[in-house]
């Protein structure tokens, strides 16, 4: 029954609209005006509205920045993250300046050059090649600077020295994560996806001697100030390990192992003092992966070497977990 009413109401609104528009047209017919012709009055009103809305828009952008800046991510908790944040700041200042400048020009021209009467003529000016060169070369120079700066940062991130890095593997699957530590031999054991099953969720080849001391955990613990080389794998489909506080993101692709190297610089304890007791570092999935994509997370903890050693000693090795149960 409600549906019938809804349809009826929609129909009546439609009829009302039609009548309003028809009345407007008939009135103008009586006044012998061309109903839909854009008049000088329209130009004045619309250009004025454009300036008002334009200013309101720019003000709202500023307002949004001040209102929501506190909600953004805190400063980076990794070494490379700091240089990314600097690059971001530089780029943002650049684009925000251009954004304001161009919009001010836009709204100003729209207001100043509105057609005010029939005698108002435009200035016939077709092109200026020198101007074209200027405004091609000038942005090109600026963008070259941006490119060089950006590539420099990219190079520092992707060509990081990993000779001293500790190793950890992050393994994603629908819908959770595991971390695997290489143990004393600092070498991760081989894996074969056909071995996945039961307690061997990561498909580790237990015949490889390097696998015996590996530890598979449900949390990712990292030592502050120590470079880490993260290897990433996936069990089923593409996931993406996203650790926004560290400015780290890397896809986990089934059939290949990807990697990302970084050095955490702030412990969880420090962050709790800064951001509040409830703060935790987190690793989220950032590539559409199915029904629980929005809830695929792993706790990340950054701590001192002693705290880490204590934690890792409580974790079972794979030989304890898998082989002793045979």
């Amino acid at each position: 029954m409600t549906n019938v009413f809804i349809v009826l109401i929609c129909f009546l609104i439609l009829v009302t609209l039609v009548q309003i528009v028809r009345v407007g047209e008939l009135l103008d017919n009586i006044r012998q005006k061309d109903y839909n012709l854009v008049t000088t009055r329209d130009n004045k009103r619309q250009s004025f509205t454009m300036v008002i809305v334009g200013i309101a828009f720019l003000v709202s952008c500023v307002w949004q920045y001040f209102a929501w800046n506190p909600l953004l991510l805190p400063p980076a908790s990794s070494e490379h993250g700091v240089i990314i944040d600097e690059l971001m700041r530089f780029t943002m200042i650049l684009i925000i300046s251009v954004f304001f400048m161009l919009h001010i020009f836009l709204f100003y021209f729209l207001y100043k050059y509105k057609k005010i009467d029939d005698n108002h003529k435009a200035y016939f000016y077709t092109h200026n090649n020198r101007l074209e060169y200027v405004w091609t070369i000038f942005p090109a120079i600026i963008l070259t600077g941006v490119i060089l700066y950006g590539l420099n940062v990219w190079d520092q991130i992707t060509n990081a020295d990993t000779s001293q890095s500790s190793l950890v593997e992050v393994y994603g699957k629908q819908f959770g994560w595991n971390a695997r530590y290489p143990g004393i031999d600092n070498s991760l054991g081989k894996h074969d996806y056909k071995l996945v099953g039961g307690a061997n969720a990561l498909g580790i080849d237990m015949d490889d001697e390097h696998s015996l001391d590996d530890k598979v955990t449900r949390e990712l613990h990292l030592v502050v100030g120590k470079p880490v080389l993260m290897k990433l794998r996936s069990q089923d489909i593409i996931h993406s390990a996203f650790m926004p506080h560290f400015r780290v993101q890397m896809n986990c692709v089934p059939g290949m192992t990807t990697q990302f190297a970084f050095t955490p610089t702030k412990t969880t304890a420090e962050m709790k003092m800064q951001e509040g007791e409830d703060f935790e570092y987190v690793l989220l999935c950032n590539k559409i992966c199915g029904v629980a994509h929005y809830n695929m997370q792993m706790k990340v903890v950054v701590e001192t070497q002693e705290e880490f050693d204590e934690w890792i000693s409580t974790q079972k090795t794979l030989s304890e977990k898998l082989l002793t149960q045979k």
Partner: protein
């Protein structure tokens, strides 16, 4: 040309060979799909701003299966997001935009009776229609429509066990896309060949209006890039249906180890984005062309820097082929490739900037008339500036690390496609409506439509940049799983609020459009005082466009407010006077 004396309803309206009718078919279908796609976004926005809350309207639209108790099912959320993207990108902004304006304008603006092959043109529309039917059918299958994102990365899109929509829903999606690509290719062939061969006497390439250049270049982009999507889809179909391992390898799903080895999902990404990136320029360029016309006509000034505008269109098109990797910075591909793609991507900013400067220079010292079309063209310039600038952040590989697949990206591409390109489409509809239907659209409704849309749309998409910088990923059913996103609910509510208003005001546009077709005030032949050829045809619109001889062209398309003439525009058919320079 074909003899249209004995026209039946079917040959006039259904299987028409007339480019003007085919254009309208594309427009109407595009508008319909636009409503469907937009409705989907409103449905999932309800979930995003009020996660887990019950909305009767959700159950009303989606039924008990997909919105039990009025709460959106997470699988259906992903399905809606996927279909929203697919419909708006391909059906509305590619077919709806290019299909309408290329078909309508090309023969009229170059001075031809019709397209080179009316038959192929008709086929192009009907392939599109069948593709539409197939895609809409996929909404009703039991396991749900395709849900792996409009980018359909395997293995997710190849394995129904990973997500139900990757079953029959994904099959139908692939069939619909194949038909769509055929439609696109047939159309593109026609556009290119018509512009090259059927221009009237005096219409040299340099006298073409800019929108013709844009549509010409877009057609070339399309015929070169869509086939690669076809090859990507073909291999995906083989993986899904026959069990090959082009993209699949080392997979354990639903407790079972699959037999696939040796495949690479990254291969799909390369092939997909080789189309995917030119695709967004296929969407943008027609809007750039339309806006050039509308701004120029309504400023009563030539478009500034015609040659530079043409060259920048070509530069954007060429560069668009070599930037696809910027969608793949964090896939684990070779970092050197990442550097290459950063370089090429940031280069594209240059011709884009040149175009914006030229638009501003056109407005400078113009005599600006604010028609609804002009307002949308201005809206285009504003959103193109905003969206283009955030592209500089995303194109920089190091910066992309932390914003990839977050709402920052969602904000960026919606502002350039969902705002800029759609505004271009609106501008085109308002501007050429008198030529399409012989009537004027209601001006007041047009003004209301523009202002409410402009304000709401920025209200929806500008805040998304902040969500992205706060780390919020896209395609998330809800933010409630992570305490770090708790403070963002407010922003989400504001976004949904503006989305609903912006969505509802489109009803005014639809109303205006259909009302004006039947009861709009009659237009005269050239209501905007434009110089181009389409305005020299009779209002009633006839087959073959001109009743007698096709006019010959004596000058370029932009003689507005030219000194030495009383009128503030000189049609292209007007001969050059003694001592007058062409331009």
């Amino acid at each position: 040309m074909s003899d249209h004396h004995n026209e039946t309803f079917i040959s006039k309206y259904i299987f028409s060979l007339d480019h003007k009718m085919i254009a309208k078919q594309f427009l109407i279908t595009g508008m319909f799909m636009g409503i469907v796609g937009m409705l989907m976004s409103l449905l999932f926005r309800l979930q995003l701003s009020n996660p887990g809350e019950s909305f009767a309207v959700l159950e009303w639209f989606l039924g008990e299966k997909w919105a039990p108790g009025g709460v959106l099912d997470p699988n259906m959320y992903l399905a809606l997001v996927t279909m929203h993207g697919t419909i708006l990108i391909f059906w509305v902004l590619t077919a709806g935009l290019t299909g309408t304006f290329a078909n309508f304008l090309i023969p009229l603006q170059i001075g031809a009776r019709d397209m080179a092959s009316g038959f192929m043109n008709m086929l192009s529309y009907w392939f599109f229609f069948v593709a539409t039917v197939v895609l809409l059918c996929s909404l009703f299958v039991e396991t749900g429509p395709a849900s792996a994102g409009w980018t359909i990365y395997p293995p997710l899109s190849a394995l129904p066990e990973a997500i139900p929509g990757s079953g029959l829903g994904q099959d139908l999606w692939l069939i619909a896309m194949t038909l769509f690509i055929v439609s696109s290719l047939l159309g593109g062939l026609n556009y290119i060949v018509t512009i090259l061969n059927l221009r009237t006497k005096g219409m040299s390439m340099t006298r073409l209006p800019l929108v013709m250049w844009a549509l010409f270049i877009v057609a070339i982009l399309g015929v070169l890039s869509f086939p690669v999507l076809l090859s990507a889809s073909l291999l995906l179909v083989f993986d899904r249906t026959f069990g090959t391992s082009f993209y699949l390898s080392d997979i354990v799903i639903a407790g079972e180890a699959l037999h696939h080895t040796g495949g690479s999902p990254i291969l799909f990404e390369h092939l997909f984005w080789f189309l995917g990136h030119p695709e967004v320029y296929i969407i943008l360029l027609p809007a750039l062309g339309i806006v050039s016309e509308v701004i120029s006509v309504n400023s009563r000034k030539p478009i500034f820097g015609y040659k530079a505008m043409v060259i920048s269109l070509m530069a954007i098109a060429f560069l668009s082929f070599i930037v696809w990797g910027h969608h793949m910075f964090i896939t684990g591909m070779d970092p050197f490739l990442g550097s290459v793609f950063t370089f090429t991507t940031l280069l594209i900013a240059i011709p884009s900037a040149v175009k914006v400067f030229n638009y501003l220079a056109t407005l400078w010292r113009g005599s600006i008339r604010f028609t609804p079309a002009m307002l949308f063209a201005i809206g285009f310039v504003s959103t193109f500036i905003t969206g283009g600038l955030t592209g500089i952040v995303l194109g920089d590989s190091a910066l992309d690390i932390n914003v990839h697949d977050t709402y920052f990206v969602v904000g960026h591409f919606h502002i350039v496609m969902g705002l800029s390109a759609i505004y271009g489409m609106f501008a085109g509809v308002y501007h050429w409506f008198p030529k399409m239907y012989g009537k004027m659209m209601n001006k007041r409704l047009g003004y209301i439509h523009f202002w409410v849309t402009f304000i709401s749309a920025y209200g929806v998409f500008f805040p998304m940049h902040f969500l992205g910088l706060a780390g919020l990923p896209r395609r998330y059913y809800s933010n409630t799983a992570f305490p770090m996103f708790e403070g963002l609910t407010n922003i989400n509510e504001i976004i949904t609020f503006f989305a609903i208003i912006g969505g509802l005001v489109q009803i005014l546009f639809i109303f205006n459009f259909y009302y004006s077709i039947f009861w709009g005030t009659k237009a005269n032949k050239n209501p905007w005082g434009s110089t181009t050829l389409e305005w020299t045809t009779p209002i009633e619109r006839i087959h073959g466009n001109w009743p007698g001889e096709i006019p010959t062209v004596k000058r370029w398309a932009y003689d507005y407010s030219k000194p030495g003439y009383d009128e503030d525009f000189v049609p292209q058919t007007e001969p050059i006077k003694e001592g007058e320079k062409e331009h």
